[in-house]
Amino acid sequence: MALLDYVTTILPQMMIGLGTTLEMYFASLILVLPLGVIFAILKLMGPKPVRWILNVYTWAWRGTPLLLQLFIVIYGFPVIGINLPKFLAAAGVFCLNMSAYVTEIMRAAIGSVDKGQYEACKVLGMSYPQTMLRVIIPQSFRIALPPTCNEAINLIKDTALVSVINLMDVTRTAVIIANRDFRIVSYIIAFIIFLLLTSFMVKVFAYLEKKATAYD
């Protein structure tokens, strides 16, 4: 069957693209959660200059297009003498972009914990760091998980942006194959690959949510 033959010939190339997408995704994601949590805590209880810097950070990174951020780091930084490996630079941009969102998600989640919890800690003599680390932040995780899941899924799709800086990810590979062969099969394969990836991440977060709400 011609179609099946065609798919088997282009699949290995697509898989190489998938490898790049996955590397980019996990390289970006791995630091997002710790950074988001640390930034949120610092934003709430850090020293004033730190809070100010973090405010500027979330403001700027959430307020500009990811594609523009990518261009600035990849093509702009070399102009001022900063040369980063392309892959690392792109992963850094994705990581800082998503971290800005997760910081705000965590900050809001921490803010939504009932004030009675703080009072309970206070009357038990707990210090502010103890209150935050042992009582407030663990509860805020469960509030923050669903929106963080959304961000994690968005990040998978955002990695497709690396195709414009000539990294051979799934999307870029699909485009090249489609142009070369005048067939759209590679697009359909890319479509399915992304659906599988995002479905997998949804499952991972569903599991985490179940863990985080075990006490409900």
Binding site: E119, V123, L124, G125, M126, Q130, P138, Q139, Y215, D216
Partner: protein, 265 residues
């Protein structure tokens, strides 16, 4: 002020002197004076908005006063515009506050911790008691409130009455000298009120010093040594329950009691 009337021979545990408290423009307490003696159970009653909860929350500095002084076991923990009452050192204030426990209307249990973890959290992390000792202590306190079978239950799996008993055990685990109860049964279904009141009653029998803000008149009547009636930002009556409930002359209080009793039916 007739603060220390017949009770000069007993140890004053909490002394509130000329307490003023306002939230913005709204005055909630206006020159309240109150002495609480060791081993005493005080029921604080009165209409909503009369300042009962605020009075209670001032004692452990959940609310900061605008004027007045508060003394716990001889240590002045807060003093505003009262030069004769200098505040003790931070360390002493902290130690004295540590001698107060509190039970809230909405329990405020830590939902991500089991009943036992709730009870041992502060002993381990505040008092720095060893974990094994804290667990033994926590179990003892949960036994004391009749929850021997709920050590590992999360608050979400407990009834309101059980939650409030865990909250009482949590307060007891810090071995307080006084426990402040802020409407401990107001959030409970009627059929669950009894089990919480029974625990408080048991503590009263053990001569635990307690201040209970409550709407349960029969409970106030039964267990308190003194009933304090608050109205219009101050204490308007302070008398033993017999006198308070049976020989009430004050028209405002009479009207309040009649209303409370008719609500019951």
């Amino acid at each position: 002020m007739e603060l220390t009337k017949t009770k000069n021979d007993r140890e004053v545990m909490i002394r509130m002197i000329n307490i003023h408290k306002s939230f913005g423009d709204v005055h909630v307490l206006e020159g309240v004076n109150l002495n609480v003696y060791r081993g005493e159970v005080i029921a604080v009653i009165g209409p909503s908005g009369s300042g009962k909860s605020t009075l209670l929350r001032c004692i452990n500095k959940l609310e900061l006063i605008n004027e007045g002084a508060i003394e716990i076991e001889g240590t002045i923990i807060e003093s505003v515009n009262m030069p004769d009452y200098p505040v003790a050192s931070n360390q002493q204030v902290k130690a004295s506050l540590g001698k107060t426990g509190m039970v809230f209307q909405n329990f405020n249990l830590f939902p991500h911790m089991t009943a036992l973890q709730n009870v041992i959290e502060a002993p381990i992390h505040v008092k720095k008691i060893k974990k094994e000792e804290a667990i033994a202590l926590g179990k003892r306190q949960l036994d004391r409130v009749g929850l021997s079978d709920k050590y590992d239950a999360y608050p979400s799996k407990l009834s309101g009455g059980q939650k409030q008993r865990v909250a009482i055990a949590r307060a007891l685990a810090m071995s307080p000298d006084v426990i402040l109860f802020d409407e401990p049964t107001s959030a409970l279904d009627p059929e669950l009120i009894g089990e919480v009141l029974d625990v408080i009653k048991k503590l009263a029998e053990e001569r635990m010093t307690m201040i209970v803000v409550t709407h349960e008149m029969s409970f106030a009547k039964e267990i308190s040594d003194r009933v304090i009636f608050m109205d219009n930002r101050n204490i308007v009556a302070d008398s033993p329950p017999d006198e308070f409930f049976n020989n009430q002359e004050h028209p405002r209080i009479k009207a309040f009691l009649e209303k409370m009793l008719s609500n019951k039916n």
